[in-house]
């Protein structure tokens, strides 16, 4: 290829490394790189220029609450290995859930869906940590068919941990946590329970924008929207 021809690729390569090309243009550069050792070497040489850019910004100390939230989430998920990432995408509830959330008055929720009744003694405790952050613990309603099952939501500001006990293991299925507000339900994580029926799910964020935390049994990889009736409901 002539030098003039390569100047075009060199211009494109710089834009490519800066992530400034369209998807099609990027693919064209990648195809060219596969065949052109000269440009591969040039890309390797130029790449540190891009890698230095993030270090050029003014360095700030992140807020300590961010670290606390992340570590709390990590520890909770490490303790409950099956806990998995919540999906980023906000989804609309399925028809049954929409009906339940929109049409059924809150006090009638448990009766209205028939499956849910107050199996755990409802309770609400509030505490204050050393750093002044308010924490609270909410006992959840659990499907009475799950005899002896309990669930509590330990809330810490916008995040929290949902702990369950007495839930049955279901091969090929997984428990999914949902945050509900108005007519919208957002996925907030997956978890499984151990042989004794205990499990936990960390909710990294979103409780400030939720009226209710719910759990349903879903296919093994989770669902974008609930496909079964909830087995746990915690009003927050």
């Amino acid at each position: 290829m002539s030098d003039a021809g390569h100047t075009r690729w060199e211009d494109d390569l710089a834009a490519y490394l800066l992530d400034a090309l369209s998807a099609d243009e990027s693919r064209a550069v990648e195809r060219h790189l596969e065949d052109c050792a000269r440009c591969r070497e040039r890309a390797r040489w130029l790449r540190p220029s891009v890698e230095m850019l993030p270090t050029s910004v003014e360095q700030l100390e992140p807020p300590p609450e961010l670290r606390e939230r992340l570590m709390r989430t990590a520890r909770a998920e490490a303790a409950a290995p099956a806990a998995a990432a919540p999906r980023d995408t906000q989804v609309r509830a399925g028809r049954g859930w929409l009906d339940m959330l929109r049409a059924v008055p809150r006090p009638a929720l448990a009766l209205g869906v028939a499956l849910i009744a107050l199996a755990a003694v409802a309770g609400y405790g509030i505490g204050t940590r050393g750093d002044g952050t308010t924490t609270s613990t909410v006992s959840a309603q659990v499907d009475p068919a799950l005899s002896g099952a309990t669930a509590t939501l330990e809330r810490d500001g916008d995040s929290g941990i949902l702990r369950v006990s007495g839930l049955p293991q279901r091969p090929g299925r997984i428990y999914e946590v949902w945050l509900a507000q108005g007519g919208e339900v957002r996925p907030a994580g997956l978890f499984q329970v151990d042989r004794s029926g205990r499990g936990a799910a960390a909710i990294a964020a979103g409780l400030d924008r939720a009226e209710r935390v719910m759990v349903s049994l879903e296919p093994a990889r989770g669902s974008a929207q609930p496909t079964t009736e909830p087995v746990v409901v915690a009003d927050i």
Binding site: A14, L18, D19, S22, V50, T55, L60, L70, A78
Partner: protein, 176 residues
């Protein structure tokens, strides 16, 4: 990172302590809002915690990879906002040091010093080259969008990107 992949919370803590500051700083530089930057950083680290296996050592350092995750998420936030092209800062340094709410730790002081050196290298770039680099990297604009914003031909934008990259690389090679 292998320990993070095995869901070792202590290893994750170390990764955060090493890279959380630069990650938050980069997020703030891109989105320009502390709360949003905090959310971006949190999402990025949680995605790393939950899918650490995606890290490919052969493709670079943990820091580079992590900051790439942060940048992608921050740019996604920018792109969700309408009229982003007109709000991208053209300033080299939009974050006054006194804006930090905390006294700098030793690690942060070192990061700041390194950042100052790199900013010095960037500061040596002609302004027209610096602008196209910043609009692309921190603003998430494509070359054609930059051409529109700056009112210049596409070829000029790409040429300036190339010249800027070459000059930055040469500065690095001089052992900055």
């Amino acid at each position: 990172m292998p320990l993070v992949e095995r869901k070792d919370a202590s290893a994750f803590e170390i990764v955060y302590d090493r890279h959380g500051g630069p990650a938050f700083s980069l997020a703030y530089r891109i989105v320009g809002d502390r709360q949003v930057a905090e959310e971006v950083t949190q999402e990025a680290f949680l995605s790393v915690w939950r899918s650490g296996a995606r890290f490919d050592r052969a493709r670079g350092s943990v820091r580079t990879w992590l900051l790439g995750v942060v940048r992608n998420r921050a740019i996604d936030v920018l792109r969700r906002e309408a009229g982003r092209a007109t709000t991208v800062s053209l300033e080299l340094d939009t974050v006054p040091e006194q804006e930090s709410r905390f006294e700098p730790t030793d690690a942060e002081a070192l990061r700041r010093e390194a950042g100052r050196e790199v900013r010095g290298a960037l500061g040596d770039l002609p302004e027209d080259q610096l602008k196209v680099v910043q609009l692309a990297y921190f603003g998430g604009l494509s070359h054609s969008e930059i051409a529109d914003v700056l009112g210049m031909p596409l070829g000029t934008v790409k040429g300036r990107m190339r010249l800027a990259m070459e000059k930055m690389r040469a500065t690095l090679a001089e052992g900055m």
